[in-house]
């Protein structure tokens, strides 16, 4: 451990008292509902996404139990359809992105040397919408009304005539509701990273995790409208009889697929990109050196974010479009492996040139590289139209994307949980328990999903609730089911490890790993105001660099202490130059009220109670009006100065 005590703050005792007064929140029920502190909101994202992960995981275990033997009758076809749809939908929309946004919420302001996100109330609003949208979707399951047509909900199967009931209305309205949260969070990340960086943090000193979060946020802003449009049209077709996807009325069924995958393929990178950012953030502490090839990793992040928008048709290689048009997407799908490969080689070079400290987070990073490379290898195979057409809709595809998503997102998340647990909770985890959990998760993952490549190639289609006994299917399915239980036990041990750390872990020092980014120069857990003195950044590794650390000590100027009021510093987008001091909003119930009004709107739309829906719209408009109403205070009192 490199540090055992918080760095001596450059702020006086009086400044610290004032900062505590302005930023601290007294524990109370009201403060629980009204908080806008990015750290509390980040923790809530992590816990809530973890809860949805648990529900989706239990769904997966139930399905694997059903598929352990041929012709099993544990689940009916209708129940199975709802379970696999909710499993996929929840893992993609309610676990992966929100979990990574939880890391972003907690870490981005700390990594860039700010006191909060740019729009703290919008941040709280995003969390409440995420929670309510997730509950909106999951509550439908016990009523037998959950979405039931796969996470990508292809038309015409999902049109009302083919799937009656509320199932797909829950899907389309739930995702439209959730999209508000994701969009709000993305805007917040972009503005925070562009305007709230500490002085001196020019673009070439921005931590790679922040680059990854910002690239992800831009991808969300450009990709999500396509999904929202798709779901709005599906809802209109189902509820109000429009014909967007009806070929009989000049609609087009492929329109759904195009719009869905214009969102869907970037979404793979929306999920993986912040996780790759976690890898770049964790690695320096456990290799004792900076990540090799910083500019090339930035290049990889930026190019992946852009090229990911030009590969969507490789999900449609079996739809009969002209082969020439496939070639444009095949080319992009092949080339996108290059920036992904650059990152892998940069991390391998970092490990080769550094001095490895083999703690649990590094074990997960090594597990990530093995698993993600295997997933990437089969991904390159899918870029080839002829191969793709042979294995489409088979278990080979299921194996591929679980390697990519568990390897590329879950392993880095687990590395991140162990790495930042001391910072988030102020407690150290149990190393031995963490190692057991890693080996069970790693083995369980491969025992579950590797055989799927085989029985996929043997012809087993995906999304079947049972199967007749076929040579090459039965035994491998049983192996997959055994592996899934192993994986579940490993993940349970992770949970036990986290609970153990919170309840019995020894107190964590500010910087237990000798990390290189600014969050390690705060206390564990950080004070409500994060930094007594906002840092001045002099290098890419500010915690390893003397002038940056000294900038938080004695002699700091008033414009970096800002003890008079709830204030932080705006800097320029490219070079991180001081611009002005801004006042940050205080705790408020408006975000919760607005989210609840939206819940009423979407629920009443689901049940076709349109007058109540109109009333909810009025409440939404009124709440936004109150929210945006300018405060009647003089500029001096607002703390605004040039």
């Amino acid at each position: 451990m490199s540090t055992t005590a918080a760095p001596a703050p450059g702020a006086s005792r009086q400044d610290l008292t004032l900062l505590e007064e302005h930023w601290g929140e007294r524990p109370s029920l009201r403060s629980w509902f009204s908080t806008v502190d990015h750290k509390r909101i980040g923790r809530r994202y992590l816990v809530t996404a973890g809860l949805f992960f648990f529900l989706a995981g239990v769904s997966a275990l139930t399905m694997r139990t059903q598929l352990a033997r041929p012709e099993s009758r544990l689940l009916s076809p209708q129940e199975y359809n709802q379970l696999f749809t909710m499993h996929g939908t929840a893992m993609i929309f309610l676990f992966a992105t929100p979990m990574l946004f939880g890391f972003g919420n907690f870490l981005v302001p700390l990594m860039i040397g700010s006191r909060d996100m740019a729009f703290p109330k919008l941040n709280a609003f995003g969390y409440w919408v995420f929670l309510l949208a997730g509950l909106f979707m999951w509550v439908s399951l016990p009523f037998g009304a959950a979405p039931n047509a796969g996470w990508f909900a292809y038309v015409p199967l999902t049109e009302r005539v083919n799937t009656p009931g509320l199932h797909l209305d829950v899907y389309s309205l739930g995702l439209l509701f959730l999209g508000i949260a994701t969009t709000a969070a993305s805007i917040n990340f972009i503005v925070t990273a562009l305007k709230l960086r500490a002085p001196g943090m020019s673009l070439n000193r921005v931590p790679l995790f922040v680059w990854a979060i910002v690239a992800t946020a831009f991808m969300v802003i450009f990709a999500l409208p396509a999904l929202n449009l798709d779901n709005a049209m599906l809802f209109l077709d189902r509820r109000f009889g429009t014909h967007f996807f009806d070929p009989g009325a000049a609609g087009n069924v492929l329109l759904w697929q195009h719009l869905f995958w214009i969102f869907g393929h970037p979404d793979v990178y929306i999920i993986v990109m912040p996780a790759l950012g976690i890898v770049s953030a964790v690695l320096p502490a456990f290799t004792r050196r900076g990540v090799v090839g910083y500019p090339l990793i930035v290049l990889a992040i930026v190019t992946i974010a852009i090229i990911s928008f030009g590969v969507w048709v490789h999900h449609m290689f079996a739809t009969g479009l002209p082969r020439l048009s496939y070639s444009f997407f095949s080319a992009a799908s092949s080339i996108i492996t290059i920036p992904s490969g650059i990152q892998i080689f940069a991390w391998l070079a970092t490990m080769a040139l550094g001095r490895l400290v083999l703690k649990v987070p590094l074990l997960y990073l090594i597990g990530f590289i093995v698993t993600f490379v295997l997933g990437g290898f089969t991904g390159a195979m899918f870029a080839l139209t002829a191969f793709d057409q042979q294995v489409t809709d088979s278990y080979f595809v299921v194996a591929h994307f679980h390697y990519v998503l568990i390897g590329g997102a879950v392993f880095p998340m687990l590395a991140g949980i162990y790495y930042w647990l001391p910072k988030i909770t102020g407690r150290m985890y149990h190393e031995g328990l963490g190692r057991w959990a890693f080996w069970l998760v790693f083995a369980g993952m491969h025992v579950t999903f590797f055989p799927m490549h085989l029985y996929g190639l043997f012809g087993m289609p995906r999304r079947v609730y049972t199967y007749r006994s076929e040579p090459g299917w039965d035994a491998w399915n049983l192996v997959s089911t055994i592996g899934s239980y192993l994986l579940a036990i490993g993940l349970l041990l992770v949970l036990i490890g986290v609970v153990h750390a919170i309840r019995r872990g020894r107190p964590a020092p500010p910087d237990p790993w000798g990390g290189d980014s600014l969050e390690w120069s705060t206390e564990s857990p950080p004070k409500p105001y994060n930094f007594p003195v906002l840092p001045e950044v002099h290098s890419l590794h500010p915690t390893w660099d003397e002038p940056s650390r000294e900038s938080m000590g004695a002699g700091a100027t008033e414009d970096r202490i800002l003890a008079e009021g709830r204030r932080t510093l705006f800097t320029s987008e490219l070079d991180g130059r001081r611009e002005r001091v801004v006042e940050m909003p205080e705790a408020s119930l408006q975000p919760l009220v607005l989210a609840l009004a939206l819940l009423v709107f979407f629920t009443t739309m689901l049940f076709a109670w349109y007058p109540v829906a109109i009333a909810a719209v009025v409440v939404v408009a009124a709440t936004i009006g109150v929210w945006l109403w300018p405060p009647r205070r003089p500029e001096r009192e607002l703390g605004v100065s040039t």
């Binding site: 020019s202 070439n204 190019t303 090229i307 030009g310 048009s325 070639s327 444009f328 490219l574």
Partner: protein, 132 residues
């Protein structure tokens, strides 16, 4: 020579930098939507010509022009990279270092975008535009 360029030179330098950084990406996006869109929509309507031009020629234009724009962006990136190698003394180092990072990113990304356009365009040589 003055260490601080005038406003016009700064504007020109800024535009050149952003063309270098974004030119390839924008050109590739235009290529993708034009080539794919024209091919899919024209074939779906049962035709293989757009006005007087054969479909293959229109797709070829949607390949060649964006490829040239990407080559231009690549050259601009190389120029920025060379110019930021030895900044004049007295010049603020923050923007120079940041520009150099962007130039490196631009050179490699333009190469990638050019490769995608060329690989996609190569299919024109072997595949009839409406073969399914």
């Amino acid at each position: 020579m003055s260490a601080h360029p005038g406003p016009r030179a700064r504007l020109a330098g800024g535009l050149l930098l952003w063309y270098a950084v974004l030119g390839g990406a924008v050109a590739w996006a235009v290529h993708l939507f034009a080539a794919w869109g024209v091919d899919e929509l024209t074939c779906a309507s049962g035709r293989e010509r757009i006005g007087a031009l054969p479909l293959q020629a229109v797709v070829a234009i949607a390949v060649v022009l964006p490829a040239l724009a990407t080559v231009g962006a690549l050259l601009a990136a190389a120029l920025v990279w060379r110019r930021t190698a030895h900044p004049p003394e007295g010049l603020d180092e923050h923007p120079v270092r940041r520009s150099r990072l962007l130039a490196v990113v631009a050179i490699w990304s333009n190469l990638l975008f050019l490769a995608i356009i060329v690989l996609g365009g190569a299919a024109l040589l072997v595949l009839p535009p409406c073969l399914r």
